[in-house]
């Protein structure tokens, strides 16, 4: 059965016994939107270079069942060197044995959405489905209509997370193809601070499709560190839609690291709903084989005095492909906006492809915005300089590529994560 038919049949099964679900109206609206707009195709401008043909063919199973035990899950690549809170989901379902809560302040909630709906229903209802709009977004609509479980993080007014949350999603496709739709809701209240690491890994030979939606609300004077580490090896298809909604005087640092995975599409959207918002969007993708990585971003400067800085860097080998599309939208009220955007790519093979499109749309008249994209090879001059000092071509290339990637690594505020990234870069290069 193809994916859309499967969704339709799953939704009617859900709807038949959903009267008591407080999400029903949101989910039903999403489903109606999905029926209306369908899944994206190459004819959709935002999906021009990104084919979901393999995904829409379906043949995935939604199932929490995994024969893996906690020990083998740990070995599968949870980033264990970092002292952090932990939530682990396997095929979309919470694996409670591996949850860790280190925070001393019990007012901070780190839970699965399913569990949190019992005790924190009011906050969830207030935020759920309010930021990730489904209109024209088939993938978001599909997630909203039929989400699996996911994380709920709630940092109340004035509270600060002392440790990051490592939110690990494991795809176990050892038995059959897997389809999961993680849904995370992160609420950082006024003057609070949160820190989240999304960590994606996969095991097994079968194909999988993971369709994530993150809704993130950051209230006045609050801050958030948000990292994504995508290392789901094998035939994994990963669609990640993140909508950040930020009120005034907020600081958000977001770093996306795309390392493993057959097919990755990231949609990262920021909406600045107050003055003096500060949004940093950084990304690094290192691809080889026939990997495909697409980073779409959108920053809505809706209010004055906003600052956004975006830098995505890629290193491509073999016949891998990358897509970058960054849109900065400066609304008519967003005077004194400073917005910077760069996409840089190094191609290490003749068969690698990059499609990049930096975009600025400016409706205010007193702003400072720049954007740009580069695609090239490693520069000859630094290469020769290093070799003339006795460093082999291979080592010289490593030094230069590490230096190129270090520019993004240094945006990460968790030293252990930087170290892990350095090891991953070493592995990938």
């Amino acid at each position: 059965m193809n994916l859309l038919d499967q969704i339709k049949s799953d939704f009617s099964a859900y709807a038949a016994q959903a009267e008591k679900d407080s999400f029903f109206e949101t989910r039903n609206n999403a489903f109606l939107e999905l029926e209306k707009c369908g899944l994206p195709t190459l004819k959709n401008e935002e999906w021009k270079y990104t084919s979901i043909r393999k995904i829409s063919e379906g043949n995935f199973t939604q199932s929490c069942v995994s024969e893996l035990d906690a020990k083998s899950l740990l070995e599968a690549g949870i980033l264990n060197t970092i002292a952090c809170n932990k939530l682990v989901f396997v095929n979309g379902c919470l694996f409670p044995e591996l949850s860790v809560f280190l925070e001393e302040d019990a007012d901070i909630v780190i839970s699965s959405i399913a569990n949190a709906r019992k005790g924190n229903a009011a906050i969830i209802t207030q935020h759920f489905g309010k930021y990730a709009a489904v209109e024209g977004q088939g993938m978001v609509a599909m997630n909203t209509a039929l989400m699996s479980d996911g994380a709920f993080v709630y940092v109340p007014k004035g509270k600060k997370m002392k440790y990051p949350l490592m939110l690990t999603n494991i795809t176990d496709a050892t038995q059959h193809g897997i389809f999961q739709q993680p849904r995370n809701l992160i609420v950082i209240e006024e003057s609070a601070h949160g820190s989240i690491i999304e960590n994606y890994i996969a095991i097994g030979e079968h194909a999988s499709f993971t369709n994530v939606v993150n809704e993130i609300f950051v209230d006045n004077n609050a801050s958030l560190e948000h990292y994504k580490v995508q290392r789901a090896k094998g035939e994994t298809y990963h669609n990640n839609f993140t909508q950040v909604f930020q009120n005034g005087n907020t600081n958000i640092n977001q770093v996306t690291l795309s390392l493993d995975g057959q097919w990755i599409r990231n949609n990262l959207h920021f909406y600045m709903n107050g003055q003096n918002c500060n949004s940093l969007l950084y990304g690094l993708y290192i691809t080889d084989g026939s990997q495909f990585v697409d980073n779409h971003s959108r920053v809505d400067h809706a209010m004055p005095n906003g600052y956004s800085d975006e830098k995505y860097k890629g290193i491509l080998r073999d016949n891998s492909t990358a897509v970058f599309n960054g849109k900065i939208m400066v609304h008519v009220d967003a005077q004194k906006t400073n917005a910077y955007q760069r996409n840089m790519n190094i191609l290490l093979s003749n068969d690698a492809t990059v499609n990049t499109k930096p975009q600025l749309e400016i409706f205010a008249d007193d702003v400072k915005c720049t954007h740009g994209a580069t695609i090239g090879q490693l520069d000859e001059e630094p290469m020769f300089y290093l070799r003339s000092r006795g460093i082999s071509e291979l080592e010289a290339r490593k030094l230069l590529l590490n230096a190129y990637a270090a520019d993004i690594a240094e945006k990460i505020k968790i030293p252990e994560l930087v170290q892990i990234l350095e090891e991953e870069i070493e592995r990938k290069l």
Binding site: P382, F384, Y385, L386, S388, R389, G390, L400, A406
Partner: protein, 252 residues
């Protein structure tokens, strides 16, 4: 140490070197002077192994080995060092990491174990004191944001660290004010030993006031047309290059 015989080289089909003959023995300092476009920088590039140039004829033996058959890195490991006219800025590569990699790559080539991290740092500290280098230079990215003088001093510092047998200095004086020139020259003079040789390429004589050569050669139209001792440089300073050009043309 270096024996160049009838070396001819071109770039994009254009002949630049038209038969260079030069013999450098251990401990000697040779200066190559000449007007713009004579082929001075081409000579250093060809010797260091820059791939843009094509060697059309001739040979260069370095310590008895066919230099032109070696990769740039192997030339360096054999003991050749090129001090660049324009040292490259490499953001993100720390000077310390760069030097450690370079030293250990050379040691590997020579069949030696890599230098331990602590030994390396001790060695570097020693060399920094010797060369009067500012500590901050080595903690920064390689040449990034360095002034012209700092870049050239860093070249000489690398030379001290890598302990080459033959140092080729490509227009080291270009872009230096007199104080920087003195500092750089003082560094080079500290590195002069009875075994180590230098090939100093320069347009102006003033560098040779500080690094006094044993031999001076004039390069013109890709050939060495005149050789002499340090006094030849003084003569060129007074008379310019025109009289040499005339000598060459009238001899045809």
């Amino acid at each position: 140490m270096l024996s160049i015989n009838n070396l001819k080289a071109s770039i994009e089909g254009k002949a630049i070197l038209n038969g260079i003959n030069l013999d450098i023995k251990p401990g000697e300092v040779h200066a190559i002077m000449g007007p713009n476009g004579a082929g001075k920088s081409t000579l250093s590039s060809v010797l260091a192994g820059r791939s843009d140039y094509e060697v059309n004829d001739g040979s260069a033996l370095f310590m008895g080995k066919d230099l032109l058959a070696l990769s740039p890195e192997d030339r360096a490991r054999e003991g050749l060092f090129l001090a660049f006219q324009y040292p490259v800025e490499i953001p993100g590569v720390s000077s310390t990491n760069f030097l450690k990699t370079a030293i250990n790559e050379k040691r590997k080539y020579l069949g030696l174990d890599p230098m331990e991290a602590t030994d390396f740092l001790k060695f570097m500290k020693l060399k920094m004191e010797e060369m009067e280098m500012d500590k901050s230079l080595t903690s920064r990215s390689l040449n990034e944001g360095f002034s012209g003088g700092e870049k050239k001093r860093n070249e000489v510092f690398q030379m001290a660290m890598l302990e080459p047998k033959l140092c080729i200095m490509d227009e080291t004086d270009s872009g230096l004010d007199i104080d920087a020139l003195r500092l750089v020259s003082a560094g080079v003079n500290k590195l002069r030993t009875p075994e180590r040789s230098f090939l100093v390429i320069t347009h102006y004589q003033r560098l040779l006031d500080y690094i006094v050569p044993d031999f001076v050669h004039v390069l013109y139209k890709g050939r060495i047309v005149k050789s002499g001792d340090a006094s030849l440089a003084k003569e060129l300073e007074v008379k310019g290059y025109d009289w040499i050009k005339q000598e060459v043309e009238s001899a045809k």
